[in-house]
């Protein structure tokens, strides 16, 4: 070390330090001021996760409303978005002006009604499917969120693999083959795996999501008492899905969202998948270059909804009024239709469901299937919304773990894995 450093460099660094620390303070003070001034410039943040299809819409909103700037923060996964939101509610700061929330954990946040603005407004009444709105309405009539999309489920399939196995490939014929009930679906699967090297579906965990979303009360009863481990229906479905997955070898044994799962789309590993609307984009992304995907207008056990989200406005924000306006605009039928065209998120608005844009839309990757029409029909088949209490998300995570241990990891048999699930639920308190 021969180069000499001036002592002033250290001083300069120290000064820089104070400047940086000061700058942090200054900049946020500035935003506070901006926020306080109601007439002039407003800047809003919108926090979403995965793909909401809002990129162009937010630009459009800025153009329509001079003086409003919108920053879009995207979390990678719903899990991370949930954790980030929890953190900012706990800290009473740091939440975005609009926070997206998934249906599986919206009830958890209904425990903290004071933390959110009441969005009820006669103007938006009747905008959404009833069951969509009920899930975010509190007893006193407070509306905690505006519905964005829903996840009506169909079945996606690989026509090329069906053909190799000697099964029909045409959409309508496949729908017929898959039948009405889960047993029909599994029976078709047994027929398929008898002649094919591929599995019938990707993951037992995915099937589980399809199954429990058809049950009124899964893990918690109407008073939110935890019944997950005693509810006979849970154990029956658990045994059924694992018997089909492991004993009948219908499952490819891939943990959904794992890297193995993603890479498996490039190989001929499984022939069908449960397909909520938003899954179409996921398949297309993972299966880039693979030909043969199609979608059948049917779902085992009737209709089913998997996922879908809401926009909420945390009470800690400085621009509740402006934020509510933006949330209402984003979740209006016209905008959600554009989001659907951009990312395939299926609208939850009554008016959007009957629109020609939706019904006329087709998807090239899925063999030009009329996805809009199919999913709209699948949405009509959804008649109920399962009750999801405050512990739903964590209990479901524990049950997904139990299924993964048997289906993917093979560390347990169904019984020992169930015991671990029971212990995990008890530990939740």
């Amino acid at each position: 070390m021969t180069r000499r450093t001036s002592p002033y460099l250290i001083l300069a660094a120290a000064t820089a330090t104070s400047l940086v620390l000061g700058a942090c303070g200054d900049s946020s003070d500035a935003t506070d001021e901006e926020a306080a001034g109601s007439g002039g410039e407003v800047s809003l943040t919108v926090a979403t996760f995965n793909e909401f299809g809002y990129e162009e819409l937010l630009e459009e909103y800025e153009e329509l409303n001079p003086g409003v700037t919108v920053e879009h923060v995207k979390a990678d996964t719903a899990d991370n978005a949930r954790a980030a939101l929890r953190n900012s509610l706990g800290a009473n700061s740091g939440a975005a002006d609009i926070e997206a929330m998934e249906v599986d954990w919206v009830t958890e946040f209904k425990q903290y009604p004071d933390k959110f603005a009441d969005l009820s407004d006669p103007e938006v009444e009747g905008r959404w499917l009833d069951w969509k709105t009920e899930a975010v309405t509190l007893e006193d009539g407070t509306l905690m969120g505006y519905g964005t999309d829903i996840g009506p489920e169909a079945v996606c399939y690989r026509a090329d693999l069906f053909e190799e196995a000697g099964l029909p490939t045409d959409r309508e014929e496949v729908a017929e083959l898959l039948g009405e009930s889960w047993e029909d679906y599994f029976a078709a699967g047994r027929e398929f795996v008898a002649t094919s090297d591929a599995a019938w579906y990707d993951s037992a965990g995915a099937l589980w999501q399809g199954m429990i979303n058809q049950v009124d009360f899964v893990y918690e009863d109407a008073d939110n008492n935890v019944v997950a481990t005693t509810n006979p229906q849970v154990r029956e479905l658990y045994d059924q899905v694992l018997a089909a997955s492991v004993d009948d070898e219908l499952s490819a044994g891939l943990g959904q969202w794992s890297s193995d799962w993603s890479s498996a789309f490039q190989e001929d590993e499984f022939a069908t998948m449960l397909c909520p609307g938003w899954m179409l984009g996921v398949i297309e992304g993972n299966a880039e270059g693979v030909e043969g995907w199609d979608i059948a207008n049917t779902f085992p056990g009737g209709g089913g909804n998997w996922g879908g989200s809401y926009l909420t406005v945390p009470a800690q924000g400085d621009n509740i009024e402006e934020a509510t306006k933006l949330a209402a605009w984003l979740t209006a039928p016209e905008q959600q239709l554009k989001a659907f065209e951009s990312k395939g998120t299926f609208p939850s608005q009554v008016e959007a469901l009957g629109s020609d844009t939706l019904l006329g839309s087709t998807n090239a990757f899925f063999n030009d299937a009329p996805t809009g029409e199919i999913l709209a029909e699948r949405a009509e088949a959804v008649t109920m919304m399962p009750h999801k209490g405050p512990k739903y998300f964590e209990i479901n995570t524990a049950l997904q773990d139990a299924i993964t241990r048997v289906d993917v990891d093979g560390t347990d048999d169904p019984d020992s894995s169930w015991d671990k699930f029971v212990a995990a639920v008890e530990a939740l308190g």
């Binding site: 001083l11 120290a14 000064t15 330090t17 104070s18 400047l19 620390l21 000061g22 942090c24 303070g25 200054d26 946020s28 003070d29 899990d79 954790a83 929890r86 953190n87 509610l89 706990g90 903290y112 933390k115 943990g255 969202w257 794992s258 890297s259 193995d260 890479s263 498996a264 964590e394 997904q400 773990d401 139990a402 993964t404 241990r405 993917v408 990891d409 093979g410 560390t411 347990d412 671990k420 212990a423 530990a427 939740l428 308190g429």
Partner: protein, 332 residues
């Protein structure tokens, strides 16, 4: 945010230079002497004050306060609840989560420290030779140190992927079965330990190299005269002389190793340590309790227990060091 008011600007912290000694007629002699005395008694304390203040506020206080939080029902969002005494500890110690995470942590620690030190020793011995382009080789082994653990994890996740991973491909090429890196508990520990070893082996090799170079060369000459070959010299001269340094390396990696978080957190895309907790370590368990289940009370209890475990490991190591250092002193 309030940073401007609460955080003192760093530039303001060093005591201002004492007034320049401009001659002041009259009382200059006495005044200056008193000022100089104050300067020399107070200055040292002013110089060490920033460290102690900041350390106490951001390091020591939170650590101590953890013990207090652990005695309460404490929700992340709702804040402090009732005083519950030892209930959080009982919940933690009677659940299987804690014990499994503890076993995983120790297993990963052993898998990452033992082979690492062996490899570091050998690399150091190679570097200790009279090499051409010495600096090049030393920098070469240090390269992984500048790759962040998170980036290391991303890269090794790809190499250890169950289906298309390079390592399973190589195993299959030589006729072995692919390893289920994410299902099998021990296999996952090996993979995670490999990430740790990748990053730190070269670093530790350089520490050991420095110690090796301090060994008097006449010890080797003596051994050579006694007929010991290079391998024997390594085991009978080098390794014993390095023991204090080895123990030092072990202690530092104990403190860090028992808190391992980055690599297991990144080992799959969920970050929860596996469906069967195969690679969930204690810090991941702590994070899960505190930030996923919002139970700050139980998370704090885990922190206190982990602190105790680290202290126990540290004391054992310290006693070991003392004994070995003693032995050494006798020989020198």
């Amino acid at each position: 945010m309030g940073a401007t008011t609460t955080a003192p600007p760093a530039g303001a912290l060093p005591p201002p230079p004492a007034p320049a000694p401009t001659p002041q007629p009259g009382r200059r002699g006495r005044g200056r002497a008193r000022l100089a005395r104050l300067d020399s008694t107070a200055s040292p304390y002013l110089y060490i004050a920033p460290f102690f203040l900041l350390f106490i506020v951001t390091g020591l206080f939170p650590l101590v306060y953890t013990g207090w939080v652990a005695l309460h029902d404490w929700d992340q969002i709702m804040g402090k609840g009732e005083f519950v005494g030892m209930e959080n500890y009982v919940d933690v110690l009677t659940g299987r989560g804690f014990w499994k995470a503890l076993a995983n942590t120790v297993s990963i620690f052993v898998l990452s420290s033992v082979p690492q030190i062996m490899a570091a020793l050998l690399i150091a011995a190679l570097l200790d030779r009279n090499l051409r382009a010495r600096t090049f080789w030393r920098m070469g082994v240090l390269l992984p140190y500048v790759v962040a653990p998170v980036a290391v994890a991303l890269i090794f996740n790809n190499l250890f992927a169950d289906r298309f991973g390079l390592i399973n491909l190589l195993l299959e090429t030589v006729g072995l079965d692919p390893v289920r890196w994410h299902s099998d508990r021990l296999a996952s520990h090996v993979a995670i330990a490999t990430m740790v070893n990748f990053r730190w082996t070269g670093y530790n090799a350089l520490i050991l190299l420095a110690a090796m170079q301090a060994i008097p060369r006449d010890l080797y000459e003596q051994a050579a005269i006694d007929g010991a070959n290079a391998w024997r010299q390594f085991w009978s001269v080098t390794v014993p002389m390095l023991r204090p340094t080895i123990v030092f390396v072990v202690i530092t990696s104990t403190i860090g190793g028992l808190q391992i978080f980055d690599e297991p957190k990144m080992y799959d895309s969920f970050g929860r340590g596996g469906a069967d907790q195969q690679w969930q370590t204690l810090t991941i368990y702590l994070y899960e309790l505190g930030w996923t289940r919002a139970d700050f009370g139980m998370a704090s209890a885990v922190a206190v227990l982990l602190f105790g475990i680290i202290v126990v490991f540290g004391v054992v190591n310290f006693l070991l060091t003392r004994r070995i250092a003693h032995d050494d002193g006798g020989r020198r």
